[in-house]
């Protein structure tokens, strides 16, 4: 791991990291057998779209930030950024009183010494920011931050005050925007699941409760997992409350003795001893990282074949959205007239 060196000296410096801001890429694959989770962006579709907007490889590193509060400034030379977040996010140039707003789903070229403040992530809990040519150090095959084992990110940690991220080159190509909204309803109240691997550890009424009840997202939700509360899911019997440790993947729904489901996410441990009634399908998992505590969900069972079909159909839609990213005719930031006017031109109003 040699330090990143780049001939082009420009980038961003964190002035305030907000609640939790981390570097994430697609994830650290191939090490689950050593107890190392994938990590990676909780909303991979946004990650790919944000990278596409700035012309990065789709799997490149992004900054994932929870709630408002992230503030950074650009240094050295112009850089290109794009943010994916709820349509009602608030991001401004300057500090809180900035007059120029940036919107999600569009890339911007920012001059050096520009301050950017993410004041609110809007109706969703996190936002992703891509930076063209971002330089991040890969560790064990990924830049994703997994602070528990000190892996990835900046020295194994989340972003903190004063940390700088450099870019590899000056902004290339025109600014771009999404022509259509992302293909995913992230306000859905349905979490699609495939039953198993230990659905037989639950009574018939326990399984029925799981598939018919409303489950609220508790405040206990982070990158490891989300606890939900609702009608208790009854185990088959006392002995069925524990299993000999078995693999966990993001999406696994563990049900401990209290009958309340826990959906495991990207940073969860790789094995565990609670029975897992079902698994949330991969394309529905972002809902748990995006929606706010108190949001209500229902679990809907589908067959494994239906799940594979849904994932493939979803991928086709994502590719379609990325292909339809198009250049913006006039640069928003360098055009002085726009500094004093409203940047929102309606092209992607209603975005998400």
């Amino acid at each position: 791991m040699s330090p990143v060196t780049t001939a082009y000296s420009a980038g961003i410096t964190i002035e305030h990291p907000g609640l939790l801001s981390t570097i994430q890429d697609r994830g650290r694959f191939g090490l689950r057998h050593l107890g190392i989770p994938w990590s990676g962006a909780l909303t991979p579709v946004w990650q790919r779209m944000a990278n596409a907007l700035v012309g990065n490889p789709l799997d490149d590193s992004i900054i994932e930030c929870f709630e408002g509060g992230l503030r950074f400034h650009t240094f050295g030379a112009p850089i290109r950024i794009a943010t994916l977040a709820a349509a009602d996010m608030i991001m401004k140039l300057g500090t809180t009183d900035g007059t120029v707003s940036l919107r999600p789903g569009r890339s911007y070229t920012l001059p050096a010494n520009t301050t950017v403040s993410l004041l609110s992530t809007g109706r969703f809990r996190h936002a992703l920011i891509a930076v063209q040519g971002i330089q991040a150090v890969s560790q064990l095959g990924s830049t994703s931050t997994y602070a528990k084992a000190g892996l990835g990110g900046i020295g194994g940690h989340a972003l903190s005050v004063g940390v700088s991220l450099e870019v590899s080159a000056s902004p290339q190509g025109p600014e771009t925007q999404c022509a259509v909204a992302p293909p995913m309803d992230y306000l859905s109240t349905i979490l699609r699941v495939v039953m198993g691997p230990q659905d037989d550890h639950f009574s018939a009424s326990g399984q029925e409760a799981f598939l018919s009840g409303d489950y609220q997202l508790s405040t206990d939700v982070d990158r490891m997992g989300a606890r939900l509360t609702g009608t208790a899911i009854e185990h088959r019997d006392e002995a069925a409350r524990d299993i000999v440790s078995d693999a966990i993947v993001p999406g696994s729904i563990q049900v401990p003795g209290n009958g309340q489901p826990i959906v495991l996410l990207n940073d969860a441990h790789t094995a565990g001893g609670y029975p897992k009634i079902a698994t949330v399908i991969s394309i529905d998992l972002p809902l748990l990282g995006l929606q706010r505590p108190g949001s209500s969900f229902r679990f809907k069972a589908m067959s494994l074949e239906e799940a594979i079909d849904a994932v493939r159909e979803h991928e086709t839609m994502v590719k379609g959205v990325i292909e339809r990213i198009s250049p913006v005719k006039e640069s928003a930031i360098s055009s002085e007239s726009l500094f004093s006017s409203n940047l929102i031109d309606g092209v992607t109003d209603g975005f998400i």
């Binding site: 791991m1 694959f29 191939g30 090490l31 689950r32 057998h33 050593l34 107890g35 190392i36 560790q139 064990l140 528990k148 084992a149 000190g150 892996l151 194994g156 699941v193 495939v194 039953m195 198993g196 691997p197 230990q198 299993i243 000999v244 440790s245 078995d246 693999a247 993947v249 999406g251 696994s252 441990h269 790789t270 094995a271 565990g272 897992k276 698994t279 949330v280 399908i281 991969s282 394309i283 494994l304 074949e305 799940a307 594979i308 849904a310 994932v311 493939r312 991928e315």
Partner: protein, 251 residues
Amino acid sequence: MTPPPEDWTFRPAGDRTLVLEFGQIIDGALVDQVIALDARIRSAVQAGEVSGIVETTPTFRSLAVIFDPLMTTPAELLEQIRTLDYQHSTPPDTQAQHWTVPVLYGGDAGPDLASVAQQTGLTTERVIELHQQTRFKVYMLGFLPGFAFLGDTPAPLHLPRRREPRLRVPAGSVAIAMQLTGVYPWDSPGGWHILGNCPVPLFDGHQSPPALFKTGDTVNFTAIEKEPFNDIRIAVESGAFLRSSLTGSRR
């Protein structure tokens, strides 16, 4: 030639994981089957015999096969895995290593040694002796990065978990519960009985592989006194400690 019928049952775990379950108990024989199938699948992936597999996760009694649903289907993958004869193959690259790991038993390093002796009706010397005499096998890694579940702890030392789990078990702790011994790579909460502490890091994110042990490796613990324990600690901190000093002959 038709391969023998498999010893596992398929259980789905979402749109990208197949769980191949060999049993539902902790048993060295099940672990051996899991390791054999895992090794065979890894070699098949390397040889291009199967496609679409992202990675595998072996546990005490099952093998999770994680795949890319855009590249393959569960039906296709299961069919390919069923043709692999794993019972008669040991790929050279997955050979187990044997480790001899120093442990400072008792005192501050092993706060539960006395209570384990009391609960089992043995002397503390006998507890250490039994633990030291055992050639453990790494049954699986998980719970925390690099956390190794080793078995079997000798029967006279079998105890349920502590009634009061600790909020902080220090990194390096060697602890027992049921038929297992665990070594904590990180400070973490834990409910096992701590017999001692191992000064050697079990996980180092700057090495490849980062975890000291892998599933299937064998381990002996050897008692050391406070002074050599501190010497090893100092060597680790200065970067002078080499993992290779712990490896013995291959199994």
